[in-house]
Each structure stands twice: as structure tokens, then as C-alpha cells.
Point group: C2
Chain length 264, copies 2
């Protein structure tokens, strides 16, 4: 038996989800909280790495005892529907467990993912917004209506099954860069532009490079044709800049089976 967690976090203070030798990670904080709560060392496994500063509206991670021997016992002595209340007391304000579910031992929070959705948030105006500080990319100058139309056109190019080598951080060791983007849109929510993209998987920095390419197109530094060429040729230099991590949110994870989430 494993417990799967649904977590929400502001990544501003963290070096990312994954534990790192030099830096405070979300995984590290969760490991400490759960180990403290249960009274034995726990392993936390995430559905994804996220970069430094990246946020999550709904991240999935599993928790289980580190010791093999404990896993066969009824190790979780907190009712699953109450785990969020119990552990949130031990977590800092920028990380919150919002739901939990019991999953079988062979369930893996990363390998069983069939689809993920990310959002990249862009504040359209250069005026700073204290409520979006560290939580959205602030446009250096106002993105005009035509710019939004170009962003939408570019977002449409990524939809479908493609080799995304041109939209992967240089130096990545991935050999199979084929992914299927099944939906992409640019939503306008007052002064916020939200680029939302779903795929069966994402390469390293893929959403941030797609977002940077959308921004380069909005400002006329690139055209949708350039974005298309980067996709067809795999030429990273034809695509746009890597937009900063603090605008990115992991916002949905879909599994190959139903998960019975409980939160009360």
C-alpha cells in the first residue's frame, strides 16, 4: 500500500520539486514532514521534476515507508481522508497537501501518468502587480491584441504528435523526443494571459521554451513560421528564449486509472 498525495505549492522558495545537494526542495520538505508525522523515514516520489521557482496547482507524489519491512504492515495510521489536515500542520505555508488516495504498491506517480497539463502565466502589462510578484512573467511592454493572435497561432503549431527536439533544453540526454500535445490555448483573464498546454509528456524546459517562443512571436522577434521551422528541423536556435520558471504552473496530472481522492 502506498499513499498518493495531491499537493499545491508556491515554488518561489525552492530549488524545484526534486531534492538537490545544495538547496531546499519541495521533496525534502515533504520527506521531513511525513517522516516526522509517521515516526519512521519515508520515501516521497514525485510525478515530475519541476524547475527552481516553478509552481504547482496540483502535483502528485506518493509517500511510503523507506524500510521494506514496514511496507507490509498497516503503516499509515492516519485515515486517508485526514492526511491533509494532519500533515499541513507540519508543512510551511507555501506547500499544502490538498487530497490523498490509497494506491496499490505497483502504482508509480510518474510512470503511470498518461497526461499532464501546464500553464504559463504572463502579465500582459509592464506595470508591476504585487499580487503576481514571482507568480507570473511580467511583460516588458504591453502585448498588443495582434500579439495575442500570433501567440494563439503559434500555440496551435505545437498540437499533434511531433519530435520536440527543437523545444528541449540544449544538452538534454533524451533520445526519443516525440511527444503528443493534445491541447493548447491562450486564455485572457483580465490582464493575465494563460498559455495552457496538455501532452502525454514534456521534455526538459519544453513548456518554458514554448512560452518564450510565444512571447517572441507576440513581440515580432520571431514569426509562427520560425516556430514551425524549429519544430520540423529540431533546431533549438530557431525557437524562442526559455521563459523564466516563476511563470510556470503544473496544473493537472491524469493517470491510467481512476484515483479515489479523499480530503475529508
Amino acid at each position: 500500500m502506498k499513499i498518493l498525495l495531491k499537493i499545491r505549492y508556491d515554488g518561489g522558495a525552492y530549488c524545484g520539486f526534486q531534492a538537490q545537494p545544495n538547496g531546499v526542495s519541495v521533496q525534502g520538505v515533504l520527506t521531513e514532514a511525513f517522516s516526522g508525522m509517521f515516526g519512521f523515514p519515508c520515501n516521497i516520489t514525485g510525478c515530475s521534476r519541476t524547475d527552481s521557482g516553478v509552481h504547482a496547482l496540483s502535483f502528485c507524489a506518493s509517500v511510503e515507508p523507506k524500510e521494506e519491512i514496514l511496507r507490509d504492515t498497516q503503516w499509515c495510521r492516519v485515515p486517508v481522508g485526514k492526511i491533509h489536515r494532519a500533515v499541513n500542520v507540519l508543512l510551511p505555508d507555501d506547500i499544502s497537501v490538498v487530497a490523498a488516495a490509497e494506491v496499490p504498491d505497483d502504482f508509480h506517480p510518474r510512470y503511470n501518468v498518461v497526461q499532464k497539463t501546464y500553464e504559463y502565466h504572463i502579465l500582459r502589462t509592464p506595470a508591476r502587480d504585487p499580487f503576481l510578484h514571482g507568480r507570473a512573467f511580467h511583460a516588458p511592454r504591453r502585448i498588443p491584441e495582434e500579439g495575442i493572435a500570433l501567440m494563439r497561432q503559434t500555440a496551435g503549431i505545437f498540437v499533434g504528435k511531433h519530435d520536440f527536439s527543437g523545444y528541449m533544453a540544449a544538452g538534454s540526454k533524451i533520445t526519443d523526443a516525440v511527444r503528443t500535445v493534445c491541447a493548447a490555448e491562450v486564455e485572457e483573464k483580465d490582464e493575465l494571459l494563460i498559455y495552457r498546454v496538455s501532452a502525454d509528456g514534456f521534455l526538459y524546459n519544453m513548456v518554458r521554451i514554448m512560452a518564450g517562443t510565444l512571447l517572441d512571436c507576440a513581440y515580432g522577434r520571431l514569426t509562427p513560421d520560425d516556430a514551425d521551422r524549429a519544430l520540423r528541423t529540431g533546431d533549438r536556435t530557431a525557437a524562442g528564449f526559455t521563459a523564466p520558471g516563476h511563470g510556470l504552473y503544473l496544473c493537472r496530472v491524469e493517470y491510467d486509472r481512476p484515483v479515489d481522492w479523499l480530503c475529508e
Copy 2:
């Protein structure tokens, strides 16, 4: 000539707008930034005091030289449409000037107000939200649908011209507590409940006590009849608790004349 400013701030780190002997205030931070930018001492006058922790989506304040003699000169050497860019460099990330306007010397940012709108934000579920930490009241348990209906019914009671003595902090020295609430609503925005209220003026703690009364009604601790009785009798003890400042936002200020806001 005075400059009127439109300001947005996260009040979490401040003792309120108004300068206090012991505490960092928004007014204090603005005074320092403008005095530094212009090179002479400036006076900042706000449209309102706000309590400790209270936020503003759109607060108005004027800036002018402290020295009488300077006021007759063309003291503002920054184009009005560029003031936000110039001063934001000197302001912390939680305070931002979003627009500025030139107003005549006899304009007063508080006395010329004809209407103000506040919002009180309530997270409906007890699950903590890292993105709303310090920015919304977190309900201790889920507010049911019937509770929202009772909140709406109670909000309706306040609309009109009433003596709001029962909705004023005990010990206030105000003698005329008659105010006209011209609009009130409870909006549902995903898991956030937004109580929005407009009036020609507000008494000390009035919105926080109204919000607390709505919450007490939502949970069945009070009825809309109790809220009505507090209004008719002026009995503060019949009204609800004073909801905490961190859920409150000043969100619109209307003046008795048009203001020519510039921001670029």
C-alpha cells in the same frame, strides 16, 4: 498642482496605510521613495486608512512637496505618465504605483471621495491554499450552499441608508454613523467567495464586521434577523465577529470629478 497616484499593495508586511510610531506603513514607504526620487521631502495623503494586513487593488493617494514654497514651482520633473515606472524602481515588490494624474491644489484624496468599494475574500474550504496565504480568510470548515444563500441574504440587509453604529468597532469616536451602502453582493469564483460592498463611506472596521457577520450567518451562529437587529438597534454585540484584515481589499475609489489617469 498635486499628483494623485493609484496604488496597488499587498498589505501583509505593513501596519496599514497610515504612518504609525511603531511599524512600517505603506505611507512611510511611499514618502521615502518619492522624497528620494524628487530630492526634497514630500507629503503623501491617502484616501483612507487601512488596517494592518489589509490589501489594496486600487488605493488613491496624493503626493506633493512638503515645503509650501516648492508647491508653486513646476516641482514634478517626471512626465506624469512615467511616474509609475520611475518610482516603482524605488519601491518594494509588494507596493506598486499603477497610474498617476495631475489634480488641482484643492483636490483632497479623502474629502473628494464619493464612493468606495471593498472586497472581502473568503476561501470556502479549510484546505490551505499556498497562493492565498495571507490574502484570504480561510474558512475553518467548508461553507455549504445554504450558507452562501444566508450570506447573500445578510449582505442584502446592509443595502440602503442606515445608521451603522452596530457595525463599527467599539470605542470609535464617530458621532454620525449614517452611511449609504449602494451595492453588495457575494460572488463565487471557484472556491473563493468574494463579498463586495460599495458605500459613500465606511466606519472603522465596518467591512470586517459585516464580513464576520456574513460568516457567522453562514455557519448558523447568527441569523439574518440578528444582523438586521444589530443594524436597527446599533448593538455591536448583536453583530458578528470582526473578520481578520488579511481578507480585506480596497478595490475602487470614485471621486466627485473625473480624474485623467495616465500610465504610459
